[in-house]
């Protein structure tokens, strides 16, 4: 088992560095986009279809900006998640895995599913919140054109971006915690099974002595063959 102090500790990884750079870039881009929103006519029940279409295109531009940097965020996120997997696999090394028959193949799958869950989360948040469908966004779109409207939109879009990233971190933490719970359960179960097995086997053999060897050994064989047959049957069905 790899001692904990031998597991390489990394500082905060490339994810944050990448996020900081991307955040700063997007903040500038969003600020520029807000200029156009600031100049737009207020949205109300009488707004023409062409104006709605025009404003909708302006709102889409925010999403397009996020899409342009999506692949960078996703790659860094995958790196970050891999780091956690590395740590887990170091603890659950081959020796431990083989000794307790721990099935670790699913951990990789679960970690992959975290990455895919987090992918697009920022995009989804931006799409939903920088839109006609958001009450907060609509209250800005209803404003009269001018600097006040531009400022409100700039601040709002930055807030959305910021909160999306926070949500991303929160989800990452929750998902990782779930994986740790699952790993803990798997390890505990595997050890419990081995203990149970050892104790049952020891118990079965404890009753055997020179006087009852024939009879008790037969019972043992009977049970072992039965369980082995049952396992074969299960493998065949599955």
């Amino acid at each position: 088992m790899m001692p904990f102090d031998k597991i390489p500790h990394k500082g905060i990884g490339g994810f944050v560095k990448a996020v900081i750079t991307i955040f700063k870039n997007l903040r500038n881009i969003f600020k520029n986009k807000s200029v156009a929103i600031g100049e737009s006519e207020p949205v109300n029940d009488k707004t023409s279809i062409d104006d709605i279409d025009k404003i909708s295109e302006l709102l889409s531009a925010y999403r397009t900006s996020v899409n342009e940097v999506k692949s960078v965020i996703e790659a860094k996120l995958a790196e970050e998640v891999d780091y956690y997997l590395e740590g887990l696999l170091m603890i659950l090394d081959d020796e431990i895995v083989n000794k307790y028959n721990i099935n670790i193949r699913w951990i990789k799958k679960d970690i992959d599913s975290i990455t895919s869950n987090l992918k697009g989360l920022i995009d989804k948040e931006v799409s939903g919140r920088i839109s006609f469908d958001s009450t907060d966004c609509m209250s800005i779109l209803r404003m009269l054109p001018g600097a006040k409207k531009e400022k409100a939109m700039s601040e709002y879009s930055e807030r959305v971006l910021h909160e999306s990233l926070e949500l991303c971190c929160k989800n990452l933490k929750t998902n990782l915690n779930e994986i740790y719970n699952d790993v803990e359960e798997e390890v505990n179960n595997a050890i419990k099974t081995i203990q149970n097995e050892s104790s049952l086997n020891a118990e079965a053999f404890a009753e055997i002595n020179a006087d009852n060897y024939e009879e008790q050994a037969e019972k043992c064989l009977n049970d072992a063959h039965y369980l082995s047959d049952l396992s074969d049957l299960i493998i065949e069905i599955i």
């Binding site: 929160k170 404890a206 369980l227």
Partner: protein
């Protein structure tokens, strides 16, 4: 289950075997057949079955001709020992049939029947025992050698001919000693079925010919007809039995060596036990106990009933059935102790996936967009109210059911508090005023957190009234209803479809709009209803809002232009409108593709559809009759022409087309995804179960070896197990500690990450 298969002799009629064999394969029975037996042409087919060469057998039979077998030239006839069939050509076919590797791993034994030419007796060759291919080929040629037609074949100094000729044309006998559970017999003649339940007789249901027009008829069309008939007969007889025949075999054990200790000589004696159907028991009680346990398992598997919820798809059913069998075996007392709780959890997750076959279609629209009318048209009855006032404040789900019912689900106290907070925040004055007028507060405590109310209804009218009772904005009760589920016996959409009427995205209460938002994100498809005349800014906004909530999947959105019957010239006017709508619907914030927009924009008239559905029963002086007349005129159809042009008018409504779209695009697509997910999850479960089972087997083998190793070895092993137990205790503590440390480290790192992101603000 261990099964036997008998191939009867009959020359060219043997093509029938191939059809039955195909059915056996498709039903999954092939892998349970452990012994085969055949005579004459049946011998050749049995040999190919034993080797697992279905494709080759099918190829040979589909390409065989009279010329391949018959000697048409007189010199061939003379050279072939005055026999009308060519042994040389048959020999080539046999060679081709038995060459190469054995693919059928399950089939252990193959018996071939031949008759002695000179003695009145026949011999069952255990063909699978022989290694020499030339010898094996000779046996097959001998079995096919019809006296006077083919030359006899010398084997071991004796001449043999066709095993079917005055000998045993249906060789069941050699299989009787193989401890089989059932024997399938493929006849080539109009034999009588065996009464013994041990046998399953497959007899040609149509005449496949006698000697000249059957045995000697290798015409391609006749061969193909027999293959098809064999397949049809095989399917008909075996399909109802397939499930029982496919219960896996419970293998018994091989003979084993046992070490015993002789106290007098103080020596260990190794005794090899005799084979007695595999694993041997020295005492009867142990044997009985083992057999009882195995019998109980068999009975458990055979009598297992499957939940009808898994029957929506053949693949889901197949996987669920297997998993249920596995689960029942894992739950046996002996196995339970060996299995982790995670495995049970994974199995249950898998089984719930197999049951979950609902396809949710959400309907969204502004007030008076014709949403309720569309639902009614799709359901074929006016269940939803089409009154001017908005009636839908809760989700109303329509689904197929074995009985008609309406189920009302109520808000919990917490949910209501959130809703109320949202009412105040949105300053929903109309809502508050109506709430006060209807004195809803007085019944609030009675309904919040109330258990679901289910009412079974006899008629459609009763259903309609009950739905109205729970959803009408005129009743104080509707405020507390969170969801209404309607089960319908008559449901005109595919099984599994759930049609959901939503309160919409513009509800005065944000909390209720959020329910719709959440539903749109999760639904398999969204139908956005918009009136089919000139699109206005607000309507475009509603459409865009739907897309904002389905950002990753614009394909699942269908824009439904409703009420085309209200246009002056429905066909021409809609054509013009459509071009106009397309300008906006191909933009980035909607479909982002002109092609997708064109495909997913559908114009309908639910009202006309419903009128046409009841047109035959409409009294001539009724309002609906007049309405139908005035709408029909818009389509240039006079009332007196309706009977004749009924289908044309019905097609204009596009409702049937929309239903087909739901079936072919939405349901089929998601069914495929669902099945893929089921298969993937099954593979994960399969991997971990197989992994666990192999470990159990390894452990049990250790016990078997130890138990046979004598008393000293047992003592040694017992100590090892005790040590292992203690070691595990220590390792557990250390692993717990490590995982906890890693968890903390990860958590700290995630917090630090969040902190840095916070600082960005």
């Amino acid at each position: 289950m261990r099964l036997g298969l008998v191939f009867e002799g009959g020359g060219a009629k043997g093509a029938y075997h191939i059809g039955v064999w195909k059915a056996i394969r498709e039903l999954g029975i092939e892998k349970h057949i452990t012994s085969v037996s055949g005579t004459s042409v049946g011998a050749l087919n049995a040999a190919m079955f034993y080797l697992g060469k279905f494709e080759q057998a099918e190829h040979i039979w589909e390409n065989i001709t009279n010329e391949d077998i018959l000697n048409v030239k007189s010199e061939d006839y003379l050279a072939n020992g005055n026999c009308i069939f060519s042994q040389k050509k048959l020999s080539g076919i046999v060679e081709q049939a038995i060459s190469g590797e054995k693919h059928n791993k399950k089939c252990d034994k193959c018996y071939i029947t031949c008759r002695s030419r000179d003695k009145a007796e026949h011999r069952y060759f255990e063909w699978s025992r022989y290694i020499d291919n030339e010898y094996k080929k000779k046996i097959l040629l001998a079995s096919s050698a019809i006296p006077g037609i083919f030359a006899s074949v010398e084997i071991d100094g004796e001449f043999y001919v066709d095993g079917g000729a005055n000998a045993d044309n249906t060789p069941i006998t050699p299989l009787t000693k193989d401890r089989l559970d059932r024997i399938i017999i493929i006849h080539l003649s109009n034999a009588k079925a065996n009464n013994d339940p041990m046998f399953i007789d497959i007899i040609p249901s149509q005449d496949i010919g006698a000697f000249i027009d059957g045995t000697l008829d290798f015409e391609h069309s006749s061969i193909m007809r027999r293959i098809e008939l064999g397949y049809a007969d095989g399917m008909k007889i075996l399909l109802p039995l397939a499930e029982r025949l496919c219960i896996p075999e419970i293998k018994t054990k091989k003979p084993c060596k046992r070490k015993t200790h002789d106290h007098d000589t103080n020596k260990t004696i190794i005794t090899e036990e005799k084979e007695m159907n595999g694993f041997t028991f020295t005492n009867d009680e142990a044997r009985k106990d083992y057999e009882t346990r195995i019998a109980a398992l068999r009975s458990n598997l055979e009598t297992q009933k499957i939940d009808t919820a898994y029957l929506w798809n053949e693949t889901a059913h197949k996987y669920a059935k297997n998993m249920l069998k596995v689960k029942s075996l894992l739950e046996t007392d002996e196995m339970k102790q060996q299995i982790t709780s995670k495995m049970y959890k994974d199995i249950d997750t898998f089984l719930s996936k197999c049951k979950d076959n609902e396809f949710h279609i959400a309907l969204v629209g502004a007030i008076k967009a014709g949403k309720s009318m569309l639902i009614n048209a799709m359901l074929g009855y006016e269940y939803s109210s089409t009154k001017v006032t908005p009636e839908t404040a809760s989700l109303t789900k329509f689904k197929k059911s074995s009985k008609n019912y309406v189920k009302a689900i109520f808000y919990s106290v917490n949910e209501w508090n959130e809703l109320w907070e949202s009412v105040n925040k949105s300053n929903a004055a109309v809502f508050l005023e109506e709430y006060k007028t209807l004195n809803a507060e007085s019944i609030k405590n009675q309904w919040l957190g109330h258990h679901d109310e289910v009412t079974e209804c006899e008629t459609r009218e009763e259903l309609k009234d009950k739905i109205y009772e729970w959803t009408s904005s005129k009743s104080s009760l509707h405020y507390f209803v969170k969801e209404v589920e309607v089960g319908l016996k008559e449901f005109e959409l595919p099984d599994g479809v759930v049609l959901v009427d939503t309160p919409g995205l513009n509800d005065v209460v944000e909390y209720r709009s959020n329910i719709t938002r959440d539903y749109i994100a999760r639904a398999n498809a969204v139908l956005v209803c918009v009136k089919s005349d000139a699109l206005n800014g607000q309507e475009l906004q509603t459409i865009i809002n739907v897309f904002s909530n389905t950002r990753y999947n614009p394909e699942k959105v269908y824009v439904i232009a409703t009420q085309t019957d209200t246009l002056n010239h429905p066909v021409e006017d809609w054509k013009n409108q459509r071009d106009e709508w397309m300008k906006y619907l191909k933009q980035k914030s909607t479909f982002a593709s002109a092609e997708l927009a064109k495909k997913n924009l559908i114009a309908v008239s639910g009202y006309l559809y419903l009128l046409l559905k009841k047109y035959k029963d409409l009294p001539e002086d009724s309002d609906e009759y007049w309405a139908l007349e005035s709408i029909a005129i818009k389509y240039r159809i006079r009332m007196k022409e309706i009977d004749e042009r009924y289908t044309e008018l019905l097609d204009y409504t596009n409702i049937e087309m929309l239903k087909r779209t739901i079936k072919n695009e939405i349901v089929s697509k998601y069914e495929e995804l669902l099945i893929e997910d089921i298969k993937g999850t099954y593979d994960i479960c399969k991997e971990s179960i197989t992994f666990a089972m192999n470990n159990i087997k390894k452990n049990q083998q250790e016990i078997i070896d130890t138990a046979q190793g004598g008393i000293e070895e047992i003592k040694k092993k017992k100590e090892e197990y005790e040590k292992k137990y203690k070691e595990a205790e220590e390792d557990k503590k250390e692993l717990d500690h490590l995982i906890e440390l890693l968890r903390k480290q990860t958590s700290d790192r995630a917090d630090e990450l969040a902190e840095q992101i916070k600082d960005l603000a």
